[in-house]
């Protein structure tokens, strides 16, 4: 039965390529990237395996690898649960399968697909580090298999927990935002940690020692002990791994059985919190016109819809992270005049903030039909969305710019920088208001995870077009930027103010013209846009 499930997974995997060139291209590119990393890792392992190496190095190598691999397998499902649901209990519950059969199927199924395949290769490759002691190498192969069983069992536990947690809207929201911030912070944190690399490197043996006792890497730690010849330790770690594996297996089984008994109950919330009848919330705060209603609904969606409030978290998140880390990373030896990433971010974040406009109709998906069916005018749709987005983004960008400028010690340039960033937000909305009526950016449908990847057959061409849209927004900022550079060079207050004024004027003009053209486009193309965004799933 487990083999049947395995072949089911395999067929799904193969079927995902059928008739879709871009999936194949994506698979090949991803595969090459992964293979590149794995093969260089394998090569390094082989180098270590040529001759006997210090046991400490081998310990670091094996335990470090096991820890990183386990962390990846455990944490990723927390944020992406449901991305590969082929063998999820939801789908299998109607069939007379015993939990054990599903578990074995899922366990083996974990190796079908790109990540599973690369994991197997990496595990094999890492073993080469012990090649100078052939017996240990054979021992590694056996113990690594046990380690993989433990790793995937825990991974499944995590994804089952994630499914349950995700059914609670608030927790889901918090998890998503956390994951997103983690993702955002990864770059700067790595840069920051590079500066403390020495301390990090010094504490590696301690980390490895601790991780070796935990399910993270106890199996790999057993092999490291074998390499060292500490057989007592080998037995101890091996026993520990077996205990972990059995416990994980039992817990997994328990959660799985519980999940299968509760299929379908984890959706919706029939006793959800209600507001009193007659309380229209945000709609009472906007004029009772089509434009006002659309603005109100845009604000409501941006705040309440987990797919969209990612974009809101992003803006202050970027400003905060880069204000704190962007400066450290590039101010070598206290040379504060040097350019740092924040000059780039001060331009980039506002563009992103305005560009969110181009996603709005995509996020509406087929609910956009309400605007089409009601015969909403192009002007009302375009202005309403612009109003709703700007009322949130302008204050966020303004506050972020002030904060970043202050942290960077550039307060004397505040006026032109503020003008530039606010102008770019306006330009971003203006350009997007035309763009989204002609090309739609794929977005996850309502209710889906914000991280859900979109299947798009013509994704590559559209990607280029999107780059072009962002480039056009950037170009709108050039006049103000030139004056800003001149102002910085000459320390001229007048030029600074001129830059601010020019940035703002360009922004307002692009906004008004863009919305005018976008409204015309809406009158002509709204049905086509509706068909386009309805196709996102």
């Amino acid at each position: 039965m487990a083999l049947t499930l395995l072949s089911l997974k395999w067929r799904y995997f193969l079927a995902s390529f059928k008739g879709n060139v871009w999936v194949i291209v994506g698979f090949i590119l991803g595969g090459l990237y992964g293979l590149g990393i794995v093969s260089s890792w394998t090569f390094a392992s082989l180098m270590l395996g040529f001759e006997e190496t210090e046991p400490q190095t081998i310990t670091l190598w094996l335990v470090g690898f096991g820890t990183v691999l386990s962390l990846a397998w455990w944490l990723v499902p927390l944020f992406t649960s449901g991305t590969d649901a082929t063998l999820d209990p939801d789908h299998l519950a109607p069939y007379p399968l015993r939990p054990r059969e599903i578990m074995v199927g899922q366990l083996l199924g974990g190796f079908v697909g790109l990540t599973g395949f690369l994991t197997l290769l990496a595990v094999l490759g890492t073993g080469l580090a012990t090649l100078s002691k052939p017996l240990v190498f054979i021992f590694y192969l056996v113990v690594a298999a046990l380690g993989l069983v433990l790793m995937i069992s825990v991974s499944r536990i995590f994804s089952l927990i994630a499914i349950e947690l995700n059914s609670i809207p608030v927790v889901r929201q918090v998890l998503l935002i956390l994951g997103f911030l983690l993702l955002l912070g990864a770059g700067p944190l790595i840069v920051a940690s590079a500066f403390t690399l020495q301390t990090f490197y010094d504490s590696l043996p301690v980390i490895a020692e601790v991780a070796g006792w935990t399910p993270l890497a106890s199996a790999f730690s057993a092999v490291a002990a074998a390499y060292e010849g500490a057989w007592g330790m080998v037995l101890l770690k091996l026993a520990l791994t077996c205990i972990y594996a059995v416990l994980a297996w039992l817990l997994w089984k328990k959660l799985l059985v519980r999940a299968m008994e509760r299929i379908g109950t984890l959706r919706g919330d029939p006793v959800a919190k209600t507001v009193e009848a007659g309380k229209l919330g945000i709609f009472d705060r906007f004029p009772a016109t089509p434009t006002g209603a659309i603005a109100a609904r845009t604000v409501h969606s941006l705040i309440k819809d987990p797919r969209m409030n990612m974009n809101l978290v992003m803006v202050p998140g970027f400003y905060l992270l880069f204000s704190l880390f962007g400066r450290i990373s590039f101010s070598d030896g206290g040379d504060k005049v040097g350019f740092n990433t924040n000059w780039f971010m001060l331009v980039f974040i506002p563009i992103m903030a305005g560009y969110v406009y181009a996603y709005l109709v995509s996020y509406d998906n087929s609910a956009f039909s309400m605007h089409v069916l009601a015969g909403v005018s192009g002007k009302a749709d375009r202005w309403g969305r612009a109003w709703g987005l700007l009322i949130i983004m302008l204050p966020l960008v303004a506050a972020g710019t002030i904060f970043m400028t202050f942290m960077g010690g550039n307060l004397h340039l505040l006026a032109p920088l503020l003008g530039l960033s606010l102008g770019l937000v306006l330009s971003g909305v203006g350009v997007s208001a035309v763009a989204d009526m002609n090309i739609s950016i794929p977005a996850p449908p309502p209710g889906a995870s914000p991280f859900k990847t979109q299947r798009q057959s013509d994704g590559f061409a559209k990607g280029l077009l999107r780059m072009l849209v962002m480039l056009i927004i950037l170009i709108c900022g050039v006049p103000g930027l030139i004056l800003l550079v001149l102002a910085t060079g000459s320390d001229s207050q007048t030029l600074g103010w001129a830059s601010a004024a020019v940035s703002l004027v360009v922004g307002v003009v692009v906004l008004v013209v863009g919305i005018h053209l976008g409204a015309r486009s809406f009158e002509k193309n709204a049905p086509e846009t509706l068909q386009r965004v309805s196709a996102f799933y």
């Binding site: 507001v275 009193e276 009848a277 309400m370 009601a374 015969g375």
Partner: protein, 287 residues
Amino acid sequence: MTHESPTPWNNPADTSTAAVPAQQPPVVPNTPAAERRQPALDIQGLVKVFRDKVAVDGINLTVPRGSFYGLVGRNGAGKTTTLSMSTGMLRPTQGQVFIDGTDVWLQPREAKKKVGVLPDGVYLFDKLTGEQLITYAGRLHGLDKATVAERTADLLTAMDLQEAAGRRVSDYSAGMTKKVALAVAMIHAPSLLVLDEPFEAVDPVSASNIQDILKAYVAGGGTVILSSHVMDLVQRLCDHVAIMNQGRIVAAGSLDEVRAGSSLEERFVDLVGGRVKSEGISWLSHS
């Protein structure tokens, strides 16, 4: 046409509601007599081609004013495509659609004022509460604040959704979702309702309530066209029916004309075909 109007929003012609005596014919000021004789929906030579597949293959259909029209057909017959093209959601490859004499694709804003649509299988802005959603629809139509508030309250009552008014639509059951979508379609008091599968996934009680609302709407002078593949329901509810198959209309007219003495279901199977003479599945028999 009698002038009983149990639900005031469903008769746009009626500006003075209860004040109009029942005997008086529904005279609409400022509307020329010629325009009032226009059919509620007039489809002429409608064609839709998706890439190389012909989904709708030259349809002509006239829905008389005041009729309760059923559009039936198997899955994939082209019902939804036809209704989408008739309401301005999907541009036809060829052909014209008139709502009350107004060309949907040449004067979309004017035409859309006269029609309320319940599309099948589209998302709603379901992060809004039911009340917010209906209010949103009313305001999109440009109705003033007081009218929207009044009609929203009426619709919530009529749909039996008062209890759920303050709950998010995403937490509604399938039946409640259909009802709130129907309210969204009715808030601007259209003279024509286009409903795609209005009873799908709706429980019997809610379905009966919706049927009552629709009957009252037609009695008040409105026109309804709905698609369904439940023949019994169409036979019971509708006075006109059109049968669609493979992108074409194979029969259309009054219910009695179309079913020609037999039941609608028998007639449908006759015209559409595809029935498999079944001997039964031997291993499935437990006796």
